[in-house]
Subunit: 250 residues, 2 copies
């Protein structure tokens, strides 16, 4: 059993898509899986077919509601979600003002560990209190790296930040891996970024590369993960491979 | 003369690319232009050919260094940049602790108004203290809307937030417009998103649509804006049109 945070302060790199698609792939394979949506945008919540701003949400859980009471079923067997709420944006201001606030989420999610084999925490695009709380609660962190220059350029400082988190906040946190996303075979840039990432971080990069696939960006508008929306798409197949790669490591 | 903030809490929608490309297009046309990089990721700084973490940076300006002393020339005539620094990440924690911190950036940038006709503030992907300070300093806000479902889905709540900012922080702030980015003629999704945005916000959307164009994502790796990297690309032409559209309104 492990809790995985999906984190990268660079925006739009595929954190939500990876959390939702990976979780759905593992759930379809029979593993009990939970997605915890720690982003006030609530993209993972909506991508799994739930309305935004339902209650109780993660905001309520941070305020004391038992996490298991906030879990909701999805259309995918074995997959449940702990939904986000726009009020979470206030948590970024409120968390730092509270006593021993670093481990609020860790303590709140402890009871979920018996509920699933895989738990994925989707983080917002920043290294603020919500993301730090998620990194404090997680056992491992998966970093989606979009096959673009800005995402590559920011990777060094992100790994430095994760090193600080390991030292000061959560010594047990391990980097599970970097997953290259939105890889486009037609562009030299994609090939260059992949080559750079494999050169500099050979032991951290997953074998599986997630291709750019429009079906992945269509799926959330139907509230379905890719495994249900279009299981034969290149996007779905890639996430199934990634899930297999993850499961064999676990 | 006007200060424009590029804001959207959704990540990866083209805030930096729009700030840099729009500024470069206006500068090439002879207008004195400044890009202020308010994102600790410092993507706009790097996209304009400057190293990250130079000093003085915007972090120093927030701490009292005169803004004009932090301006740097770029390879584009008439275009200067006020660079970001990774220390800005600390500003998100420090700003709320200071007296009357809401207008720190507004006061710090006041002296720049005589230095340029167009000033663009590139914001990080969040509605935290840095973005709120930028919205407090700006006259207008430009919202890049990626032609994708999540970006469309989050637009309503972003406009609500901007409404609150107008009421409580900066009554003079006007929404300059929504600009559709990464539009791909081959996908139904792009057409659907554009139709939805034009239907719901007809008076706010710019005529010009920015197409998905790999040359735009290659340019930052050379430290050049698109107008220099590949002036005949569809990306450069679209931003030149957008600049014309903006200038005729100004
Ligand atoms: N492999 C892919 N192919 C095509 N589109 C993708 C792929 N992965 C993600 N997308 C789309 O790209 C956009 C960004 O992805 P996503 O929202 O998952 O990133 P994120 O890192 O969670 O963003 P944020 O930083 O805002 O939280 C979304 O519109 C998504 O549907
Ligand atoms: N029209 C376009 N066509 C192709 N690629 C684009 C286009 N606009 C931006 N990009 C690329 O998409 C990625 C996201 O764009 P950008 O970084 O400008 O967004 P952002 O909103 O500033 O992101 P963040 O939320 O992290 O600040 C970048 O790698 C950029 O090079
Ligand atoms: Mg996300
Ligand atoms: Mg940016």
């Amino acid at each position: 059993m492990a809790i995985y945070a999906l984190a990268n302060q660079k925006g739009g790199v595929g954190k939500t898509t990876t959390a939702v698609s990976l979780a759905a792939s593992l759930a379809e394979a029979g593993a009990k899986t939970i997605v915890v949506d720690a982003d006030p945008q609530a993209n993972a919540t909506v991508a799994l077919g739930l309305p935004k701003d339902q209650e109780p949400s993660l905001y309520d859980v941070l305020a004391g509601t038992p996490a298991v009471d906030a879990l909701r079923d999805t259309a995918v067997p074995n997959l449940r979600v702990l939904p986000a709420h726009s009020d979470l944006a206030a948590a970024n201001v409120e968390i730092p003002r509270m006593e021993s606030s670093d481990y609020l989420l860790r303590d709140a999610l402890a009871s979920l560990r018996e509920e699933a084999q895989f738990i994925f925490l989707d983080c917002p695009p920043s290294i603020g209190p919500l993301t730090l709380n998620a990194l404090g609660a997680a056992d491992r962190v998966i970093v989606p790296v979009q096959a673009e220059y800005f995402a590559l350029e920011g990777l060094g400082s992100l790994l430095e930040t994760l090193g600080l988190v390991q030292k000061q906040l959560n010594p047990a946190l391990a980097i599970e891996g970097l997953v290259i996303t939105m890889w486009d075979p037609r562009t030299r840039l994609s090939h260059d970024v992949e080559a750079e990432v494999r050169k500099h971080f050979p032991e951290l990069v997953f074998e599986t590369v997630i291709p750019r696939n429009v079906r992945l960006s269509e799926a959330p508008s139907y509230g379905q993960p890719i495994t249900q929306y279009d299981p034969r798409s290149t996007g779905a197949e890639a996430y199934v491979h990634l899930a297999e790669e993850l499961a064999t490591r676990a």
